[in-house]
Amino acid sequence: SGGSTGAGSSGDSAGPGTELTTVGFVAVGPEGGWRNANEQAIKDAFSKDAGFDLKYAPAASPSDQKSQLDAFSTFVNDEVDVILLTATEASGWEDELKKAKEAEIPVILLDRGVDAPSDLYVTRIAPDNTQVAKSVGEWAATTFPSGANYFVLEGVPGLSVVNERNEGFDAAIAGKSGWNKVGAQTANWKTDEGKSVIETALKASNNGIQFIFAQNDEMGIGAAQAVAAAGLKPGTDVKIATIDGTKGALEALAKGDLSFVAQYNPFFGTDAVDAVTKTLAGEKVDSTIIVKSATFDSAEAAQKALDEGKGF
């Protein structure tokens, strides 16, 4: 393996026997259900049969940008044909991207974006975090026309996903009257912490919470259990909305524990293959490719999605 200098950059689709296109994938690694599904989808799409040799490089830990930078520069030095990048962090990539440019390696961003001039990468393929969070906010605004006391379960503080999801949600309810933020706490993406946080938040506010925005499914599922344990009825007394759309969340939605699940669609492996093939063939690729994500706002919708195998 390894020898990949220049070969394949002509873009001809490779079958067995011809040389494979080497793709370096700077990934995040085990972070949660969504990430697993996403990275698996990428790996499945860039298979040997499809003419790719995918080199998968997970980060040392989901918030460790340094190991991603290292993996990236290794790929640059190895002069792979294409680099796929899911950046844990948006900023700090400029130098590396420049190096890739110098080495004439196209970079395609998956999921997370980077703060760098857009000429340094080919395209970003992703569902839109802000947009998805906004859809949660919009749903909430319609569900609670006169506003609500709400609580936000955040992910690990400081990650750009967390910031974007806050932004999107806040933008949607901005200016709407009656929205009162009871609190926001991190539950570090974890179910048990989600439960613990909400349990205490409910007691601290005398059950004065009508709506909970959980920034991922896991925390939302925990929140639902806390609500139930407090003797309230999730979906009736307290409505919970989550982002991601894992199978667990869809099941919870189908049972009525959750009220709204905004899917953050992880299945864009084929879009990525498409973009890579086009780039290598010298064709033009849109500078952002937004992956369409569905939202599910009822038990029936959730059940249907589950039946269609949309959960992951």
Partner: protein, 355 residues
Amino acid sequence: MRGAPTTRRPVDENTPAVATAADAGETWSRFWGRSQSLIPTLAAVVLFVSMLVYAEIAYGRVFHLGTMSSLLVSFAPTIILAVAMTIVILSGGIDLSVGAVVAFTSVSGVMLMGAGVNGWLAIVLMIAFGALFGLASGVLIQYFSVQPFIATLAMMFLARGLASMLSTVPVHAPEGAPIELLATDWKLIDGPKVNDLVLTPGFFIAVVVVVGAVFFLHRTRTGRTVYAIGGAESSAQLMGLPVARTRVSIYIISGALAGLAGVVYTAEVGGKAQNVTGIGWELDAIAAVVIGGTLLTGGVGYVLGSVVGSLVLAALWMIITKDGSIKPEYLTIITGGILLAFVLLQRVLTKRKSE
């Protein structure tokens, strides 16, 4: 018992020099007897080189200017942290706060730059902030008998918390801030495409830190006191060595170096700082120190060993990346397994010599 030595060590001029054939053997075994503590470090060097050779054969492009430059440049902060950790561990302590201190110093420093503070002054302040955390740990440990693990754990929480309170979104140094100069690429050899030898001031800072630490530990009284404290604290005390002062300095140095690592890393990522930087770096630093042959109980080990230890970790990640077929579930099993393999190998080597 040992094979005839091939390298003949220069005979110490002070040993009675009776030049016989047997003497060469004795000199060798005498040298061997003195240098037992070097063995684990030497083992790390050998292993490091074999890893590189393996990677070159299996994947190629390892002995490649570009790869080598990336390795050295990107591991500059890690090396600085490993040096700091070595000094602390040699004294029998531990510093869990380094990763969080990197986060705090970089966020606070960059914010200062943003607020209009002179860029160089801000850099100095970053190092000073690091030193302050070290001072706090040192005082807790020395004067309030708090165990190092706990004191530095508290500082880890504190630094991480303060960093998050300053900002949970990435902050950027203003355009043209001096900190960006630290990441200037110095292209020493310009090869085809990315096959260049490119080093940054950050790398040279790391080199200076390493050389300085070697000098400090082996050529100053305070440095020797570090070893003495790690060997037997009460003995050091009764020998009249300045234990209190030395120990507080150790943690100040460690904190300051963490601040410096923060500077170098922040420069590396283009003057950006974030509160989530450096999570778990303390464990990497500790692993580097251990791989380099330093005993966690203190008193035995070398800074250069830790540098090799950091490079071993770098090579490990490089191999994982180059291989590119790892399953994410197995990632930590593999890194853990390799760490284990290292310590086991060293264990075997040191055991052999004692038999």
